[in-house]
Symmetry: C2
Subunit: 686 residues, 2 copies
């Protein structure tokens, strides 16, 4: 049951798709809102767990830190970070009382989850205009389903987006891209797409392609498609200020850019230098910006990633000039601690300055609304611009789309990636822990930069990260300019990388099936163990294992020089230790704590008892995947069934009933297949 409470003059976010009547009076569970302090306070019991808040640092259990919903381009994802790129104001308490809270509020809001006082949760929005939803349910799974039905169906990407993907900031020319592709194809390392970072554009201008470095782009897109490679260009939030550049000129002409208080167009500095921000909160401007993607769709592009849409701001022109003026005053002075701190913090404070977000305005329903009041909606609406355009131009086709920034609601238009992580072992785990939290928000198509974006990687880190990401819907190796090359062919153990990535393709029948079922039934693909094993006290503490779909428990190795790890099994399970799709060993392991060995070239995961795990065979791209046969691995002492979902992978015509093939394996090993597909199955029973 969902109750809606309304406070003040709510700014419409379009986060939810259901219209609920307003409930009046004290808020269920949270009690009275303190108008003066602008906060809800809730007493946490010692055993209470707190789930949610989407993209954030720290644990699956969010207790013990202060989180702030304030979309922020800060590349340092540290334990002490309070904000990342996205804002997801939904959380659940699970313990003495079990309920969910969604604060639908587009401004900045903080969640003090036992940080200041270890047994107190405090929700503090910057002003008192918000919708608050309280969700009662029988458990966390139920609450998530209700929340998801409230916010609408998750975005579904094309099936090829479940293949292995390669990216790097620094593929400067078509030749660079060809080299990446041919290295994969010649070495038979599977690959489905290559990303085009900011380098493909003409001086970082949205909806342009540099013709010198990418001549005859349409033909190039075709050439790549012939190799089963999809090119995925980046789109940035800021539009370059440049006379003669049509996007700029149109935006100015129609008043589609964010404004200063005086009505002039606000100037920020990003990749191209001076830019204007398209006012994607204004429906007309949003439609116009969305139409920009057509330029690339028309050249055969079928996937995009939206970046810098917090929006990231290296500086505002006004502030930058103020700083330059002040800097001159330091000349010849003795810069002691205080003066030097002032100097460096002036420069450090240029980027993403809170005050700069108060300098510009959006036009919402004819009214000028200062940006900071709706800050968290920008990335969402940029991606919505694209999504609405795709529905208009390609209504029957799935277009790959994911964004860096987001707010609840955006999950209907795209996925997210977890932004600019680092080549740290610690970030394997940090990103892994975000997965179930993102799923709660409806962000099913997501993943992180495998191998790490910033900093120099190592061969073993890339290998372990590939293993850790083997079930992640978005599985993209991405890195920053200026760092060590990390395409897998750069390393010594090419054959091992090839085999591991082949495994990914063999797992796609399961991954895709579970993903689609989660998307079409508002459920989760990645779940904390405690959501399944609700009565298991130990499961509540496990932060480095996840349930993946209905059959699998994942347990990646994320420490350097380790050849094994500890695993907790809440029940008897089948260990699968995989080196390649046809080289793996298995072992039935009893419930409890185990130390499980796995060399760098091996990954481990577990099959739940009385569940079926379908695996396919290797392929060099999703297009070449043979989906006509699967092997069913089972570990059972009773009759079991599995619903295998598959479809054409490209169209938006989903039908859960039509597209499911049900396999049933009886206790004695007899297998029956029902459904409209011709599916050849073999059974491997334990």
């Amino acid at each position: 049951m969902i109750k809606r409470y309304k406070y003040g003059a709510v700014i419409q976010t379009d986060a939810v798709v259901l219209e609920l009547d307003e409930t009046v009076g004290a808020v269920a569970f949270l009690g009275q809102y303190d108008e003066t302090a602008q906060e809800f306070r809730y007493r946490l019991d010692a055993e209470d767990l707190v789930y949610g808040l989407g993209e954030n640092v720290r644990g699956i259990n969010k207790r013990g830190w202060l989180y702030e919903s304030r979309c922020l381009d800060d590349p340092h994802h540290l334990e002490t970070s309070n904000s990342l790129y996205a804002s997801h104001n939904f959380f659940m308490i699970s313990g003495t009382e079990t309920f969910g809270v969604f604060m639908d509020y587009p401004g900045i809001v903080s969640f003090d989850v036992g940080y200041t006082n270890r047994n107190e949760l405090v929700i503090h929005p910057e002003d008192s205009n918000f919708d608050l939803y309280i969700i009662e349910g029988k458990n966390t799974t139920d609450i998530v389903m209700q929340f998801r039905s409230l916010i609408g169906r998750s975005y579904i990407p094309p099936k090829w987006a479940f293949g292995y993907q390669q990216s790097r900031w620094g593929y400067m020319t078509a030749e660079d891209v060809r080299e990446v592709v041919s290295q994969h194809r010649e070495n038979h390392i599977p690959l489905d797409s290559v990303y085009m970072d900011i380098d493909y554009m003409e001086r970082y201008k949205d909806f342009t392609v540099d013709e010198e470095r990418f001549p005859d782009f349409k033909a190039f897109v075709e050439e790549m498609k012939a190799e089963h490679i999809h090119l995925v260009p980046i789109i940035d939030a800021g539009v370059k200020v440049e006379a003669g550049y049509p996007v700029y000129e149109e935006g100015v002409e129609h008043g589609y850019f964010c404004k200063n208080a005086d009505g002039t167009d606000f100037v920020a500095g990003v990749w191209p230098g001076r830019v204007h921000f398209p006012d994607v909160l204004n429906p007309d401007a949003r439609k116009w910006f969305g139409h920009g993607y057509k330029f690339l769709l028309d050249q055969g592009i079928d996937g995009f990633w939206n970046d810098m849409n917090e929006p990231s701001l290296f500086y505002s022109e006004e502030h930058f000039n103020e700083v330059l003026d002040s800097i001159g005053e330091f000349k010849g002075k003795n810069l002691d601690l205080e003066a030097f701190s002032t100097f460096t913090s002036m420069v450090d404070g240029l980027a993403n300055n809170r005050d700069d977000y108060k300098r510009f305005y959006h036009k919402i329903n004819g009214e000028m609304v200062r940006h900071d009041r709706v800050h968290n909606l920008f990335g969402y609406n940029m991606t919505r611009a694209a999504g609405e355009a795709f529905e208009e131009f390609e209504p029957d086709k799935r277009i790959l789309m994911f964004s860096r920034s987001s707010y609840t609601g955006m999950h209907r238009y795209g996925g997210i990636w977890m932004g600019d992580n680092m080549s740290w072992w610690g970030h394997i785990l940090m990103n892994y822990k975000m997965l179930p939290s993102l799923n709660m928000m409806g962000l099913l198509y997501s993943g992180c930069d495998v191998g790490g974006f910033s900093g120099n990687t190592t061969e073993d880190l890339v290998m372990r990260w590939i293993e850790a990401a083997i079930f992640t819907p978005l599985m993209r190796n991405h890195s920053s300019m200026g760092t060590r090359d990390q395409e897998v062919y750069r390393f010594e153990q090419l054959d091992t990388f090839k085999k591991l990535i082949e495994c990914r393709y063999a797992l796609v029948p399961y991954i895709y099936s579970e993903f689609m079922k989660a998307a079409l039934t508002d459920t989760m693909y990645f779940q904390p163990m405690s959501f399944i094993y609700t009565e298991d006290e130990q499961a509540k503490e496990v932060e480095d294992q996840l349930m993946v779909g209905e059959s699998i428990m994942s347990a990646p190795i994320y420490t350097q020089n380790a050849t094994g790890r500890y695993v907790y099994l809440p029940e008897e399970m089948l260990l699968i230790r995989m080196r390649s799709c046809d080289d793996y060993d298995t072992e039935i392991m009893e419930a409890g704590h185990h130390y499980v060995k796995a060399g760098t070239d091996e990954m481990i995961f577990f099959l739940r008892k009385n569940h079926i795990f379908p695996i396919g065979s290797k392929a060099e791209s999703i297009a070449e995947l043979d989906d006509s046969k699967v092997k069913l691995i089972t570990f059972q002492d009773q009759d079991v069934t599995y619903d295998l979902y598959d479809d054409d992978g490209y169209s938006t015509d989903y039908d859960l009933e039509r597209d499911i093939t049900t396999v049933k394996i009886s206790k004695n090993g007899t297998c029956t297949v029902t459904g409209s597909r011709n599916l050849e199955v073999t059974v491997e029973m334990y």
Copy 2:
């Protein structure tokens, strides 16, 4: 057996205390030095472990990263950091071949330990003038002992320095310090010292005390001593440029400061603004700077910490002016990616700029030596300056001394702390893993900032960190200005903190005994498990448990919201789960993998079979410690003995034979005590 090889014109570092004849020809194990590439290359076998390199990030096993010995004040201790504050050029290979390598070289040197090629180790100094020592031994323990005898006996602090210590950048006045002390004393939280960060000085001038904020300092020192509190002031490397300030004027007059190429005094910017660096590599200048400490010794001070001695350099005056001139040119320009990067990297590049370290010179044996060639010796020689002065002024008394920067050799004059860590759970483990590596270098008196220096801490983090540091010789809670207060009395669970810190005092009889034996016999206090359980394959991979002295294995909990952890026992051991010094439970656990529960208020460690663990009782300061009686916890199936070391704790008159009391517990529980001390013992046998 130690062999010495000499290359080029060696700059004397005084790292070693033994004069060894030169060996000629190809280097044992490493083979030929490649003069052109300036490197040694060594092929690592898959099973080889690499230990050493002192203060560095990553594992106890250093494989898989690139380390650079280049003393650096970088407060971000990240997985991808290559350098921290110290330079320790000793490492060991343990595997197919087992040997130690010490490159005695004062310039910058890199150690590529399987980073570029996972099975290759490359040592690359910046020039080819160095002494190389190759140590053969029967195992890592033996090699460490030989290395330690080569470099001389480790520094020994006064016994009070094993108590609990409190620090914070921001104790501005004597009143602030009094408040810290009274909070501890009134709440009966044990405490032995309070640190005075840069705030106590008059405008950050070395060897001054701000008389307004710390009036009648000598009386204040006395007042604190009466409460069994030692005040420990910081000393910085840079001497403020200020007419009338005697230290500055003397230094200029005698030419004791580092020079520019033109012979004028080099100007750097640090806390006080413009400073000169004392040329501590010049023996006359070193002696003069060391005499500076007398100003504080004379006021009753008996402990110091040396900081900013990499030397840290916020800017050089020359470079800063260049940058200011260039910044003006950005005005009015369109700052795109390239231009904005240039702008920000100009400012970011001000601090600790590699080129600035080429701007100044030391006078060594009458010759001018450019700083970068001897960069890593600065912190060492600043601390040596103090150490030599202490020997001169207080020959019979131990003075607490530890430094941020160091090079091998400095361990004879002081310990180190691990610099400006962060309030991250990950840093508990990072700092913990450094302990055995530091011990290998002879740095026995060391520890990290408990609770974390930078960033905001949490109550549970401070609590778990105290538990993790319970055996660390230097146990100091320290934090930065601008962060959340983290003295333990700031939190809710005061009684739990009190009990845990009381445990520390009860453990001091063991800690001090093991520390002193390690110092006086050139052995290690903290050891990797693999040094003891040399044949145990699993032990080689354990990175989060340490052997502490001869009886204990430590296994701290370092993850948030965890109420237990996995532990590997190479043999049967006795678990001790401690809540306070008289409230603990024990359990004999068999060899193998275990999951062990421990709530936030409990710490766990293990007693080795057939070893004795002496524990004392609580006290509010080391001075009040009752060292006349101990309880002996044993877990034995044969006769066992333990040598308990104790002494007056203050004088430099050490005598291992005289100061040891031997306790022997027979299989049937009979205990005999031999030695000159009157020691009352009780036995608790398992």
